[in-house]
């Protein structure tokens, strides 16, 4: 393998590796705009110019491959390539490139949403010049709406074409193109046909400047007010890694988090905008169905009501439960344990959730059609599920314990039958839904971004779901509600003080999950033992 000298670093990289990739690997910053690890190389921004010994002119690090020299020609007798990233020539070039990129840039950072996470700002600060010599009028173009909730501010655009390449290579839809040439260059859509694909929101993520913006995020907050919580999307079984950006107990946006084992670099728009739906109809206190509408109760009373109803309707053996394919493993595990302790009938099934066809894109990105984001985890946790709930909904009476599926449950004829045949229906849910509408008692639990615990995607990747928001009102984590019910119904003291305790228990109870410990999961997750 060629030996590369990169400033003070020596490293061996496979022949043909691009200098920029090698630099990223050892943590040397070479500023760049048009380069994106998931996209093809454009080499158009000229920001990554570096000095390569033996080459008369500066080279773009993103597109220059590392070469291999025959032994007698090695530089200093050892190196195949010697690259400098901090010489006077390089720093001068960076300054000039930045000056060019900023010629027509409005410098409207005070009102720009990208400010604070803008590569133009960062690089200008680090490598640029405080003054521009451009005294002519700047080019001004009107902003445009591109479709799918994406708007473009053409004045800020530096024409790196990341968005164009994204739509050609990743989604394969190719709606965007660079119109005209030279001074009149601009990103446009063909014949007014809008940007229309389920991954469109990603163009705002990959835009290195404030040109492409999400309509629902514009002027809503400043980046530096946001807390960035690494978490997991549970909208489908692909289990994409996400970052939840929140402030003042409100989510402002969700962006993709790089994870090669899960989603790569991108997320779909369903996951990106899902948080809007969870802001509506939030349940904040235990609710009991009354003659007219609902009556709020305390948690103590709610728990006692459950116990009373179980005694009244067939006892513990007659309790039936529906686990949710959208809740973390911890709550499914505790529900399975509770049901096992109540009776040996194992009356647990999964609540039915919408299934659509999978959507796969040319570059391999997949949106799973299974909208039960943690189905695999739920199945693993409960072990042997009842083959369907047909087997137990003919019972005369009994209490039904249901975990909602975050509004994605499908009310099938079977499910309806089960609800009708049950004497008392307890639903654990975070938001009002088609399932809470059929309940007798609603227990408010933490919503999708208020949960902690592990989730397993369809590839067997276990990831840690991190708390991004405070729970609303009196809502409690689902695992806690189940642990408390367990204590009340079986009389045994609860072992768990936090979701991590349940994870610990899962690591010991289920062999495939023995390596999926809180510590080992980290930010990228851990494949189940025996998969991958």
């Amino acid at each position: 393998m060629p030996l590369l000298k990169l400033d003070d670093h020596e490293l061996e990289v496979p022949k043909g590796t691009k200098i920029l990739d090698a630099a990223l690997k050892v943590g040397i910053e070479i500023p760049h705009y048009c380069y994106h690890p998931a996209l093809s190389i454009a080499g158009s921004c000229r920001m990554c110019l570096v000095e390569v010994e033996g080459m008369p002119k500066l080279q773009t690090a993103c597109s220059t491959p590392v070469r291999e020299l025959p032994p007698e020609k090695k530089i200093d007798g050892r190196y195949d390539m010697v690259v400098h990233t901090t010489t006077g020539k390089v720093t001068a070039a960076r300054k000039l490139v930045l000056e060019f990129l900023l010629l027509n840039h409005p410098l409207d950072c005070p009102v720009c949403d990208q400010a604070g996470e803008c590569l133009l700002q960062d690089y200008s600060f680090k490598y640029g010049e405080a003054h521009s010599r451009f005294v002519e009028d700047k080019r001004v173009q009107p902003g445009e709406e591109l479709g799918s909730g994406v708007v473009i501010n053409l004045n800020r655009c530096i024409l790196c074409t990341r968005c164009v390449r994204f739509n050609r290579e990743i989604t394969g839809t190719g709606e965007l193109f660079v119109e005209n040439r030279g001074y009149h260059n601009k990103i446009a859509v063909f014949d007014g046909k809008p940007l229309d694909n389920p991954l469109a929101g990603n163009v705002a993520d990959i835009c290195p400047v404030g040109a492409l913006l999400l309509k629902d995020y514009i002027h809503s907050t400043r980046v530096w007010h946001l807390s960035h919580t690494p978490s997991v999307c549970t909208e489908c079984s692909a289990g994409c890694s996400i970052t939840v950006d929140a402030a003042n107990d409100r989510i402002y946006r969700i962006v993709s988090r790089e994870n090669e084992q899960a989603n790569g670099h991108f997320i779909c728009d369903t996951g990106r905008y899902a948080f809007h739906t969870y802001a509506e109809g939030v349940l904040t206190e235990p609710l009991m169905r009354a003659k007219r509408g609902w009556k709020a109760l305390s948690w103590d009373l709610a728990y006692r009501t459950v116990a009373d109803q179980i005694d009244r309707h067939g006892g513990k053996g007659a309790v039936r439960a529906l686990a949710s394919p959208t809740f973390p493993n911890e709550s499914s595990f505790l529900l399975g344990q509770l049901m096992q302790r109540l009776s040996d009938k194992r009356n647990v099934a999964l609540i039915p959730v919408k299934r659509e066809a999978d959507q796969t894109f040319p570059a391999g990105f997949k949106i799973s059609g299974d909208k039960g984001g943690n189905r695999r985890g739920a199945e693993d946790m409960i072990g042997k599920l009842a083959a369907g709930f047909k087997s137990f909904f003919k019972d005369e009476e009994g209490v039904l314990l249901v975990m909602d599926a975050d509004g994605r449950a499908e009310v099938t004829a079977d499910l309806k039958g089960l609800f009708e045949s049950s004497s008392f229906k307890v639903v654990l849910a975070s938001n009002e839904s088609n399932i809470t509408a059929m309940a007798d008692l609603v227990l408010p639990v933490a919503g999708p971004f208020e949960r902690e615990g592990t989730v397993t995607n369809d590839q067997g990747l276990v990831q840690w779901l991190q708390l991004a928001l405070e729970r609303k009102g009196q809502a409690r984590p689902a695992w806690l509600v189940l642990a408390e019910l367990d204590r009340l119904l079986t009389g045994e003291a609860s072992l768990y003080t936090c979701a991590g305790d349940v994870t610990w228990k899962i690591n010991r109870a289920i062999s495939a999950y023995s390596q999926a410990t809180r510590f080992k999961l980290g930010l990228k997750g851990q494949l189940l033992t025996g998969t991958g």
């Binding site: 709606e175 005209n180 014949d191 046909k193």
Partner: protein
């Protein structure tokens, strides 16, 4: 208005595809082929052609809008292209433009209402030694003056 190549052009288009490893590589000659047939490139033409070349209409538009030789608006039967670059400019290209503009009552970039002439200002035509130059469709007319141009234009069918 749908677009289709005439039988002869279709043959030439198919021959073009065989010359390149990728279909998309034939974009430029294919666009010329279509434009020669239709006069200019309509949205429908671009969409059909993009499909034939296995690319999106936007990618094809990328190419079309980059090249000044392609037209997406109707143009006249005769495309009067007056060179604007230095030599021609010094040799009186501006007067030629003014003359043509006055003669046909159009501004640069416009087409006469009868659809016969389109006046265009273009950059260097590469015939600086014989400035000023006017290109009418595919033919160069060099060292033109107002009178010479009038005679040339009058002879056009």
């Amino acid at each position: 208005m749908s677009f289709a190549f005439t039988a002869d052009r279709k043959k030439r288009f198919n021959a073009l595809l065989k010359q390149y490893p990728d279909k998309r590589s034939a974009a430029l000659p294919a666009l010329h082929l279509a434009q020669d047939q239709e006069g200019y490139l309509t949205t429908e033409t671009i969409e059909t052609l993009a499909q034939m070349l296995d690319i999106t209409p936007a990618s094809l538009m990328d190419t079309i809008s980059f090249h000044t030789l392609f037209h997406t608006k109707p143009r006249g039967k005769y495309l009067l292209q007056v060179c604007q670059t230095l030599s021609c400019s010094l040799a009186g290209a501006d007067e030629i433009v003014d003359h043509l503009s006055h003669k046909y009552q159009v501004k640069a970039g416009e087409t006469t209402p009868d659809g016969k002439y389109t006046l265009l200002k273009v950059e260097c035509l590469g015939a600086c030694d014989t400035a000023p130059v006017v290109q009418i469709n595919d033919d160069y007319y060099e060292k033109v003056s107002k009178d010479k141009l009038n005679r040339i234009l009058d002879k056009l069918p």
